[in-house]
């Protein structure tokens, strides 16, 4: 049962006069993992950041075309980027826990959005988020320790828990494992697989193996263009485009 969660129609993204994304149209479905792959500088991260309007925070960045979340234009004047980002969460390349305790890291989102009306409710959110992120058992006895004191992989799972705590509908992940070792990476991948039941997940990745392991659909970007988009199994075994084939067989990238 897949339904379309995010729809992009003829999207261009500019940084000042430079065009970083050229006429991309794509449908992203609920309940599965969609991977964006491509050589570095191909615009996959740029496009990801336009899906929750994080590009707004970069001076000179401009998005044209249409991006719809459940049929609503997220760039419409009536759309509040603050409310949008509560619905479309994001996990970054390098783990970026706030310099606060583990508890406070997760409580931050629910608190600003007023999602808990009592301490007990907040505690429940903390526990369920950490549990979903597979971190609860490791940190339940030291919730007041600094988030920055955790290992890299734990920090990244903390950041995922932090995103989940706001109960978003979509989770965007920008190369979430690029700073982690293989064991931590495996844990995160496992986690992504579990989470896809409840969220639409988009993951930008540098590694084709990772895309093949975790995603159901894959989009291949090259020089700001969406070259090919389809079932992951199709893309990796039987790509339609010559460029995709060259990339996945390692001829460049």
């Amino acid at each position: 049962m897949t339904e379309t969660k995010l729809t992009a129609r003829n999207v261009d993204v500019f940084y000042g006069p430079k065009k970083a994304i050229d006429n991309v149209s794509i449908d992203i479905d609920n309940g599965i993992v969609t991977a964006f792959i491509g050589p570095s500088g191909c615009g996959k991260s740029t496009f990801l950041r336009s899906l929750n309007r994080m590009n707004d925070t970069i001076a000179g960045a401009r998005v044209t075309g249409e991006i719809l979340l459940d049929g609503e234009d997220i760039y419409a004047p009536s759309m509040d980027p603050v409310a949008l980002r509560a619905r479309v969460g994001m996990v970054f390349q390098k783990p970026n826990p706030f310099p606060k305790s583990i508890y406070e890291n997760i409580a931050y989102g629910p608190r600003i959005h007023g999602l808990a009306s009592s301490k007990a409710e907040m505690d429940a959110i903390i526990e369920s988020s950490l549990t979903k992120a597979g971190l609860w058992d490791e940190v339940k006895d030291r919730l007041s320790d600094a988030g920055t004191a955790l290992s890299g992989g734990q920090q990244q799972r903390l950041c995922i828990a932090r995103a989940i705590a706001v109960s978003p509908e979509v989770i965007l992940m920008d190369e979430p494992c690029s700073a982690l070792d293989p064991i931590a990476t495996a844990k995160i991948e496992e986690l992504i697989d579990e989470l896809k039941e409840n969220y639409a997940i988009v993951i930008v990745t540098h590694s084709m193996q990772q895309a093949a392991r975790v995603s159901q659909r894959t989009a291949f970007f090259h020089l700001g263009n969406l070259v090919e988009y389809g079932e992951t199994s199709e893309i990796f075994t039987n790509p339609r485009e010559e460029k995709t084939k060259d990339y996945i067989t390692g001829r460049y990238g």
Partner: protein, 295 residues
């Protein structure tokens, strides 16, 4: 699903409140800047209103007097120029040489660490303390002439030197190592590489820092009060050992006068001092923009 959380009226209401808080916060920030700038404008306008009428040739070329209508600032200005000359001649070479040593030659040792801590602290020591040093050492110990540009210049030089050392080190640090390597590779000694290649490239940055340090010294009053440069000087000083006043000191002395007519003199002298400082800082900015090299 959770969609309902974010479309509920409670959430919308909270969102509106949060955006109102955002606007308030931004407004407070803007307000802080406006208040600061308004204060600056008020200060300048009041000095202009009080002082512009008093700016004429007689004022600029005259010396201090008990009569506000014939009192002028040339004697104080000349005192300032002589004092600054002494300061510059001492602090510039000393500061540059120290900066070169610390940046290029100094071995890592406890002594050098002590020098660095010393310099960073001296840059933050209250200026009046330098005045006490000048009084105790130059006047009471070395019997140098009180109230003279020589002692004033020496005192201000000690105060200015750390500023020049710090800016000098930053300028030298900004010269890429490849320049040194290139000079060494053609057989220059380390000293030659530094003096022939690194120093000329760092000079604009050093000069900028020097001008800023000198501008600060020019506006300084407190340390000079300590060494007695508050004499009533009716003839311009004819040398660096003659009793003398300086511009900021003249402002201070006039500000104490009971006669209301001195308000105009004081404000006019302030305008002259600010123009001097503006020119110096303008020069520093010009130098920085003109010669700044991005490596």
């Amino acid at each position: 699903m959770s969609n309902s959380t974010f479309s509920s009226p409670a959430f919308a209401k909270r969102l509106a409140q949060r955006h109102a808080a955002e606007r308030r916060f931004k407004l407070i920030g803007l307000g802080a800047i406006v208040i600061s700038l308004a204060f600056l404008a008020l200060l300048l306008v009041i000095m202009m209103r009080n002082g512009l009428g008093g700016l004429n040739w007689n004022f600029l070329s005259g010396s201090d007097s008990t009569d506000p209508h014939i009192a002028g600032i040339w004697s104080a200005a000349k005192g300032s120029i002589l004092t600054m000359l002494v300061t510059l001649l001492l602090s510039f070479p000393m500061g540059v040489l120290a900066a070169i040593y610390l940046e290029e030659f100094a071995p890592r040792s406890r002594w050098i660490e002590l020098v660095e801590v010393s310099i960073n602290n001296l840059a933050a020591v209250p200026s009046i303390i330098f005045g006490l040093l000048g009084l105790a050492v130059f006047i009471n110990t070395f019997n140098m002439p009180r109230s003279s540009p020589l002692v004033g210049g020496l005192t201000l030089a000690l105060m200015t030197m750390p500023v020049i050392v710090i800016s000098g080190r930053n300028a030298i640090k900004a010269v890429p190592p490849s320049i040194r390597d290139a000079a060494l590779a053609v057989g220059a000694s380390k000293v030659q590489a530094v003096f022939h290649h690194v120093l000329p490239l760092a000079l604009p940055g050093i000069l900028t820092g020097t001008i800023i340090g000198m501008a600060r010294a020019l506006g300084e009053t407190a340390p000079l009060l300590m060494i007695g440069m508050r004499a009533f000087i009716v003839t311009p000083p004819d040398g660096i050992t003659a009793p003398s006043s300086v511009l900021p000191m003249q402002i201070f002395l006039w500000s104490d006068e009971i006669d209301k007519a001195f308000v105009q003199n004081t404000s006019a002298a302030i305008i002259v001092l600010l123009v001097f400082l503006l020119v110096m800082n303008g020069l520093a900015i010009y130098l920085r923009n003109k010669f700044e090299v991005r490596w």
